[in-house]
Amino acid sequence: MAYRDLRQYVSALEEHGELRRVKREVDWDLEAGAIMRFVNEKSLPSPLFQKIKGYPSQCTIFGCPMNTFGKFAIAMGLNPETSRRELEDIYRQRISKRVKPIIVDKSKAPCKENIDVSDQVDLFKFPAPMLHDGDGGRYLCTWHVTITRDPDTGWVNWGMYRQMIRDKNSLVGVIRPAAHIGVQFYRKYKPRKLPMPFAIAIGTEPISSFVAACKLPMNVNEADIAGALRQEPVELVKCETADLEVPATSEIVIEGEISATEEDWEGPFGEYTGYCTNPRDKKPVYHVKAVTYRDNPILTASCMGTPVDESDIVQSISRSGQILARLQEDGIAVVAVNVAPECIGYLVVVSVMARVAQIPNLAHRVASCIWGSAVGGNIPYVIVVDDDVDVYNLHQVLHAVVTKCHPYRGISRVEFATGMAFMPFLSPYERSQRLSAKVVFDCTWPLHWDPVTDVPPRTSFDTAYPKEIRDHVLKNWKRYGFDRLY
């Protein structure tokens, strides 16, 4: 049974030992961010800050909401020990059965317990943290759902795009032209000089926020996907001032309009890449018309930086599954795909049955398929390995790179690719123009090598000893004096 709201999810994390209630007073100015950053870098339980300096006790911050695969499994109602592969299989199975949301009455929507409109709006009411030293401001929206509608087709997009407080009744945030919100804003609203209505739902049940952060195809209603993953419809409620609907159990909902003309300084911000690459710049202003919130609202916060944090978990689960499906549709003999969480969504490892497929330069075919897709188009690094490599084991993957990828013939670079402004390896000019390059590492034995006389035999426990010897050794492991099988 799906979690109805964030609070049920928080309780579930606590039952599994994945939550720590921080009762000591914590400063929203850098201290909370530093704690969250440390938690992420050590993959520790999520902190629920119950006493924020300068704020009443009713205001809390829930940090690191989904920074491990175990927490994602809990969010999906699964055992936290569920393997990566199984999580991705379940993810793909569930999203194939879309479940439309249902609209509930305002009286049944906890997010309407408090309603501030017009002059009553004060975004400083919530303990928005200063997450990193040098950030451009207090980022209220780092783990949330930003909801906007296409004015012509009616398609409603859910996305996750950072927004910082500009003043008591406005935000300012990044709208990348290539992002779905950017497609709506820059191609539809801005040319027509129309403000774009928005709603930001903070502190939703865990799957809605997860889905908002996923890279899904255009014109897909993420609410349907959230319902699919939850295996129950998401409950939505109409906004007070915008023609949009928001998850009814959200902790905080911010409604308003994104100005088609007004911009103000935003950033910098320590981003998911682990670096701060985008200089402070002018970004669109979000004018807030209403804020609704639950009693004792919980503000969710994701303190991005060096992996692994929420961004990496989302990219890994959602992209791995989609890329696997894409390769299978193309008839490629793919075994497994890993968008490695340690690599911030910029590297994908694909294992293939190269000898079975008998397709020369299969690695290039794999890379072309990935780069030609929306989900993989901006992944700069593709590593293709044989099917005897576990793609989830980066030790094995690195071993394959240094032993099977010819340093000259095995590496193919592609110039003139589309990049992202966040990519640290790009020059400042390249980032501003989103110019990048891509590379594929072919770590498969060449097809024309004879498998017996040319391909070197592997020297490992599994390959260098007869089965009888391996079984004998494992059976007697403790008798040799070892404590356990590692």
Binding site: L30, M130, G136, P279, D281
Partner: protein, 77 residues
Amino acid sequence: MGRTGYEIFVRNLDELEEDKELIKQIRDGQTYRTKYVRALFSSSSEKLPNGESLWVRSLLGPLLDEKPWRIKIISEV
């Protein structure tokens, strides 16, 4: 935990021409609330003895000068 005084983000220190009234956005070093001001800027406290502390950051966030500059706010814009 913030700094006393104000903060400003600039591309480089040349942007803060000394002894010249400039209109810039600054922010409070502790509340982080921003405002646009007409002000005088100086790298030396002797030149602006009545000025307040101003921490100068690059557009990417790090401090450009370990010591604070001085700002004399003439008016809010």
